[in-house]
């Protein structure tokens, strides 16, 4: 456990409001009917506009200095949630607070400053860098536009950003395609840090990298956190990575948070049946020739999520209540929240 992280987190937790807070945040995506669909409906066919609840009523608080790991399988809404937290996708419902203030009601200048303080690192270092820009411009453009750096200081500033991300400034006149995947991810990190954010949203930031390169980038994230006092929302499907890096872990399934707890607690005492099956399914390097067990079934379509608890069709313990009533996320131990009806039965 990183003691330094706790020290920075503690005073903030007691005095100031959380750095980022989500209250009942939802995001719907609607597929409108095309002409054929509208005609078909007029003719009385059962065609409807389809709505995906990508994120469904999420409450979440991220304290200053904390690394929060957000885990879930494809389609669980973790990337959509990350994009809303990063301010590049507005929520359909609910509020997002930054340092206690609703970001939608901020005056324009302040809203821009808040947006700048939150930066995002993307999964695909091939798609997230403009292939026609030189590295120096990729990294330096935003600070220049936002007046963080002047033309005269530009070169020195870019060099510093590259060096901090572990890149040789001698390569700054090159284009992204001249770099390997790991180096490109470093460029993405240098670009994000160049505007002096205090909060990074990393969406599968190491998923596309080879293991040995992944370790380099994870170490870089941890070093930067110490040096720059950064707060992270670290989105990943890789539980090993999340376990290693996070102070707190949030588990999502079909748009909802099912469990949330300090990292060690989640991995040692998972409460929700989904979390448990997820942990059981993760291949571990410590495991030796063993029988793989499997969760039953597949993730249901987010277009037609099951009623009640979303996990009930795959849950070995599901009862009648799970089929009709949505379980509330509630505290089962200090700092440990879980959304499962079984906890009521035990209490």
């Amino acid at each position: 456990m990183s003691a330094a992280a706790l020290d920075t987190a503690r005073p903030a937790a007691t005095a100031a409001p959380p750095m980022v807070e989500l209250r009942g945040v939802s995001r719907r995506f609607e597929k409108r009917l095309d002409l054929a669909g509208k005609l078909a409906r007029r003719l009385g066919l059962p065609v409807r506009e389809e709505v995906v609840h990508a994120v469904d009523g999420v409450d979440l608080a991220i304290r200053r200095g904390e690394v929060v790991g957000l885990v879930g399988e494809s389609g669980c809404g973790k990337s959509t949630l990350g994009r809303m937290v990063a301010g590049i996708l507005p929520p359909s419902a609910g509020t997002i607070l930054r340092d206690g203030r609703d970001i939608t009601t901020l005056p324009p200048a302040e809203a821009r400053a808040v947006k700048l303080r939150t930066q995002m690192i993307f999964q695909d270092p091939y798609a997230s860098l403009n292939p026609r820009m030189k590295v120096a411009d990729i990294v330096g453009e935003a600070p220049l536009v936002h007046g963080i750096v002047t033309r005269a200081e530009f070169d020195a500033y870019v060099d510093e950003q590259l060096r901090r991300a572990g890149l040789d400034p001698a390569f700054k006149r090159r284009y992204p395609h001249q770099f390997s995947g790991g180096q490109r991810q470093r460029i993405g990190i240098a670009r994000a840090l160049a505007v002096k954010p205090d909060f990074l949203v990393c969406d599968e930031a190491v998923a596309a990298l080879d293991v040995s390169i992944q370790a380099q980038i994870l170490n870089l994230f941890m070093r930067l956190r110490r040096e720059l006092d950064l707060t992270y929302l670290f989105i990943s499907h890789d539980l090993g990575v999340v376990e290693h890096l996070s102070d707190r872990v949030v588990i999502m399934y079909l748009g909802r948070v099912l469990e949330e707890a300090p990292a060690e607690e989640v991995f040692r005492r998972p409460n929700h049946p989904y979390t448990r099956s997820l942990l059981a399914a993760v291949p571990r390097i410590e495991a030796r020739k063993r029988a793989f067990s499997a969760v039953q079934g597949e993730i249901p379509s987010p277009l037609h999520p099951p009623p009640g608890c979303h996990f009930h069709p795959r849950c070995p313990h599901a009862t009648e209540r799970c089929r009709v009533e949505r379980p509330r996320l509630r505290e089962i131990a200090p700092g440990h929240r879980s959304a499962c009806h079984l906890n009521d039965a035990l209490a």
Binding site: Q214, G240, A281
Partner: protein, 332 residues
């Protein structure tokens, strides 16, 4: 001992090179290994290490400018490199099958599943259409696809990613092959789906005696699945041995680094042991050990090419400075 029975597959000194305009890329360079019947070999390496090309070489799907330049690929005693394209086609999809990372490499998007599966059955077996259909249905059931009879009528796009991969595996199993080469088949899948597929595959290789080569970059998958492990780096196998021994007492510094890079093995929050630098370009490999520039133990000796040597019983590595003292320590 496994007795007199010859292994399902024995690869000896395989070299597959790509003759590009920029130069000769030695994608696979002097690779040897064996896979006994019913056993699983985990072929592990990072991008560009030559693991996939090794798989393609065995099944005879290396496209120009690449070609197998030397070595033997003995499948049940027959050297595949000497077979005609016709003889090879007779084996491929029949006795040897391959599963790809992207199931759409196997599936034709415009044909129904039954059409594709029946075609595969009829390509190698003289049976009636009705019997071929029956076999297709059984194969789908075997890989855990619910209501296989109905699913036979579906098109690939009507399946989820995990289900598509199951269909691809079902097609690979149609002729109960003696050898399956699986190239990162679960890398694109969610963990719970990966768990299901690993469970199926494991059951199959145990019950049917199929030998399996599981190509992956993920040591954790291999840890639970494989009997033997071969670690590739820059076109060569640098270490080989029983999976538990290699993971517990790696000999080659690259294997040590690779295992150290996996987050779960390290203590939480502490820096991961990282391998400095990156994989060298195969176009201009330095002479001597290819890992030399990144290796903390390298010295003058490593300027020469290290041969594959048996360093411990059943354990081979290509290294002049292996972690033997660590092995002795843990053993003691």
């Amino acid at each position: 001992m496994s007795g007199a029975a010859s292994p399902t597959l024995e690869v000896r000194n395989l070299r597959t090179h790509f003759f590009t305009r920029a130069g000769v890329v030695k994608a696979v360079d002097d690779v040897s290994f064996t896979v006994p019947r019913g056993k699983v070999l985990g072929l592990v390496g990072e991008s560009g290490s030559g693991k996939s090309v090794t798989g393609f070489s065995i099944i005879g799907l290396v496209d120009p400018p690449g070609r197998v330049v030397s070595g033997e690929i003995l499948f049940q005693g027959r050297d595949l490199t000497r077979l005609s394209e016709e003889e090879m086609r007779d084996l491929r999809g029949n006795r040897i099958a391959m599963i790809f990372q992207d199931p759409m490499m196997t599936l034709n998007p415009v044909l129904r599943i039954d059409t594709q599966m029946i075609e595969t059955v009829l390509a190698h077996a003289r049976v009636s259409r009705e019997e071929a259909r029956q076999r297709a249905r059984d194969a789908l059931g075997m890989v855990g696809i619910p209501s296989p009879e109905e699913r036979l009528h579906a098109y690939p796009h009507q399946f989820s990613g995990g289900m598509r991969q199951r269909v691809a595996i079902a097609i690979a199993l149609l002729h109960r092959p003696d050898l399956i080469i699986a190239d990162e088949p679960t890398t694109a899948l969610d963990v719970t789906i990966q768990g299901q597929i690993l469970a199926e595959v494991q059951k199959l290789s145990a019950t049917t005696g199929t030998a399996l080569i599981w190509i992956t970059h993920d040591l954790s998958v291999v840890a639970g699945l494989a009997d033997e492990i071969a670690v590739m780096y820059a076109g060569r196998i640098v270490e080989r041995g029983p999976v538990a021994e290699v993971l517990d007492r790696p000999l080659h510094p690259y294997t040590v680094g690779l295992i150290g890079s996996v987050p779960s093995r390290n203590r939480r929050g502490e820096p991961l042991r990282q391998i400095p630098g990156m994989t060298p370009s195969l176009l201009n490999l330095p002479p001597g050990c290819a890992f030399r520039a990144r290796c903390p133990r390298a010295d003058e000796a490593c300027r020469a090419e290290p041969p594959m040597r048996e360093l411990l019983p059943g354990r081979e590595a290509r290294c002049f400075r292996p972690h033997l003292e660590a092995a002795a320590e843990t053993a003691a």
